[in-house]
């Protein structure tokens, strides 16, 4: 391979994914590594963070730094890392159980804080790794291991949730359309603030309802219909659409200050590059308070 070719695959990891053949997650993986390479990011300056689930093995298949956290806690780890070193590019990748179930609280709070990271959820509407139980995004009526008479809870709406929580970039992709996915990932990486992409990523093994075919018949792109992504109410109304037609694309994008720009310390320095301890500080200014 020549230098250019090597450059193109520099985010591809040495370890081969152990996902089932045909799993939707491959689509997001290849789109992500290729966009990162194309945009000139460096693996040692990029950190990919995940929780637990099939989808959460994502970082292992790349050449970047990574943290494979515990179930549902990828976002807090990303937050801590980002705040101490905002110069790193951080991408969080996980599943719907991980992000909309056990970790949903962190999803809301991370969005609200507008930290400058990208969060991508491989939403297969099922628990893959634990072999097929229902998920918070499972479709009503879906018969799964844990819902023998069909899911009787309403599914979470990740797009409305993200909008309501204050995410500043909200999009949906489909892993059957990697070209469009690449577009969304590029836009998310370029967005300053919390960028969220719900990725429809079929589980070919355990979800026989929401299949590639099922989605292909339904998805359309907001980019194709003259949709104004700067309008929050439009974004909310559009987020409610699900059924015969499923919108993909960017629902909403806005720019406001990010947390590393407002935090009284992070806005002035990258703390991991600072000297340790209090030697440089006037002792009196510390101890006078105690007298």
């Amino acid at each position: 391979m020549n230098k250019d070719e090597l450059e193109k695959i520099k985010f591809k990891g040495d370890v081969k994914p152990n996902w089932c053949p045909g799993c939707g997650d491959y689509g997001l993986l290849s789109a992500t590594t290729s966009v990162l390479s194309d945009l000139g990011y460096q693996p040692n300056e990029t950190v990919i963070i995940s929780g637990i689930g099939c989808s959460s093995s994502f970082p292992h298949w790349t050449s970047a730094y990574g943290i494979h956290m515990i179930h549902g806690r990828a976002l807090p780890a990303a937050y801590g890392l980002h705040m101490v070193n905002p110069s790193l590019k951080i991408i969080v990748a996980g599943g719907d159980g991980d992000g909309y179930g056990i970790g949903v609280g962190h999803f809301i709070h991370t969005a609200r804080r507008n930290i400058n990271i990208v969060y991508m959820v491989m939403n297969n509407q099922i628990y893959g790794l634990t072999l097929g139980q229902s998920s918070p995004s499972s479709q009503q009526g879906h018969i799964t291991l844990t819902t023998p008479s069909g899911v009787d809870e309403r599914p979470i709406n990740p797009i409305s949730l993200a909008l309501g929580a204050g995410a500043t970039f909200v999009a949906r992709g489909f892993s059957g359309d990697t070209k469009h996915l690449r577009y969304l990932i590029e836009r998310a990486l370029n967005h300053k603030g919390f960028s969220f992409i719900d990725v429809l990523s079929p589980c070919v093994t355990f979800n026989k309802l929401n299949t590639f075919q099922w989605f292909k018949q339904r998805v359309y792109k907001l980019e194709d219909i003259n949709f104004d992504k700067s309008n929050l109410s439009d974004a909310f109304s559009r987020s409610l659409e699900w059924g015969e037609k499923i919108p993909t694309g960017i629902f909403y994008e806005t720019t406001i200050p990010t947390l590393d720009e407002t935090d009284p310390v992070a806005r002035n320095k990258i703390v991991v590059k600072e000297k340790l301890g209090l030697d440089n500080i006037d002792r009196n200014s510390i101890f006078d308070y105690f007298r």
Binding site: P76, Y79, H82, L276, I286
Partner: protein, 595 residues
Amino acid sequence: MVNEISYPLISLKWGGAAGDGLQSTGLLMQKYFNSLGYSVFGIPGTQSTIRGGHVWQHLQVAITRIDHFDEELDVLFALNKQTLDVHFNNVKNNGIIITNSDIVNTDEFNIKIVEKEIHLVSLPLTTNARNIESRSLILANTIAMGVFLKLFNLPIEQYHEILKKRFAKNSKILEYNLTALQIGFNYNTEQDVSRRLGPSNGKLDNIVINGNQMIALGAAASGLKFLAQYPITPASSILTYLAMNAAKFGIIVRQAEDELAAINMIIGASFGGARAMTASSGPGISLMAEAFGYASMTETPIVVVNSMRAGPSTGIPTKMEQADLLSMISLSHGESPRAIFAPRNIEECFELTVKAFNVADKYQIPVIILSDFALSEQTKNIPEVDLNIKINRGKIWQKPSSEFPKFKRFQFTEDGISPRAFPPTPEANYILVGAEHDEESHSLSGNRCGLPNSWTIREKMIEKRFKKVKKLEEELDGPEFYGSNDADYTIICWGSTQGAVNEAVDRLNKSTKYSWNSLSFSNLFPIPIQLTKEKLQQIKYSIMFEINYTNQFEQLLYLYVDWKVNNRIKHLNGETSTPNLIIKKIFQLEEFKNE
């Protein structure tokens, strides 16, 4: 002729409703005596109540150093009737009660007041406070303070200075307080004795600080760069003190959405190379269990402060207990190495926090600082601490070296400790993972699970992680005797009860025909076996004192050192232990029934 009483120590208590400003007055008072060179020691008695209820602030002022408090009172400030109901019996003969005649009727105590020759100063604090400023009842405290200064012939000017500093930003409030102080000071208390505090000989520039602030300062001096915390009593003041000083100290201080988030945030920060800490108490610590194991498994250094409160569940949030020890040793599933330090006093809150950070980095383990309500919220005056401390960040890989030509995050080494690298260090990219992993941090839980090669790595990795703590044992401090090594009786304790225990030892040595000492532990886990054995062997008869029902530290000594105590006492009502209480408990033991 007026009699004169000279006090080597004054034990006093303010009691009132929450919101009456007792704690802030208590602190000002401590700063006042500190500025005069006396030793001060303060313990708050709080409830989970914001307004109303009954709270108090206990204070000891002494001409020599103190590390304990006594229930018996020289002075009681009763801002409400309940204070008298609860604390009247603790007032010594000849003691003083200063009370608010507007709301406290002392009639039912009159006979006892006469019997005990208590000097009662009853004045309309509320009316006086209202006359100065209609809304601020908190001024009642300052008026009472004025009375107190006069009663003990203490210099009022010095208190002006304290008030001026406290209210430097608000001249109106300062003025109110100065007026209030003068009203109290001018009040004619008609004493027939003249009371004085003995001469002070301490330093005039000590600092008045509490346990949590010392932990926070220790962390800052150690190079803490990231604190994430969720508020909880009695750990909150670590968060608030550091939040107040974040910009000055260069520490990112963030309030997390919960403790699950807090501990996972600091793991992320530590992965990035920052020294990182969180603090909480029982309920929050329980939530952290899973991530704590992750930190141990991934050899990610973090420091977790557990300021223990009485459990289980919500327990008694504002009272102390030492009942989390065993759960800290086994916090999280599986077997995950960690270290636990329990400071025995305010000074050690600083020293052991510094040690915690160095141990965490050097051995790449999570470290717990085990404080408790009584220590975290206790205030004392001490000399300024030396902020210039030794920082050891352990093995950090920056580029290929002869020892580590190629970076492998979990490389097997002699001492079990591998190199650590932070992004964006080139050539060191790796994925941190909580699954069992090989030297390069590749997961063994997927396609390699169950293959013979993985069996070997699994066993070697367990060995590696525990090798580190074996090595750590070498730099741990063993227990310390207080008093002569060959005493007849030894009281064993750990953590914050040391001050009261040592004072009990002194009193027992004076009041009994036996000799007494204490043996106190601060480096709790892993237990420094050799050093512990050496000390335990010298004991003739041991009495364990710990604040839990299930003899947790005793269990540890038995398990790790194969050693049994002779006897034990405990105190489980939640209140901070006093020397006299310890003595009383000892004399209730069968062995001492006839003493």
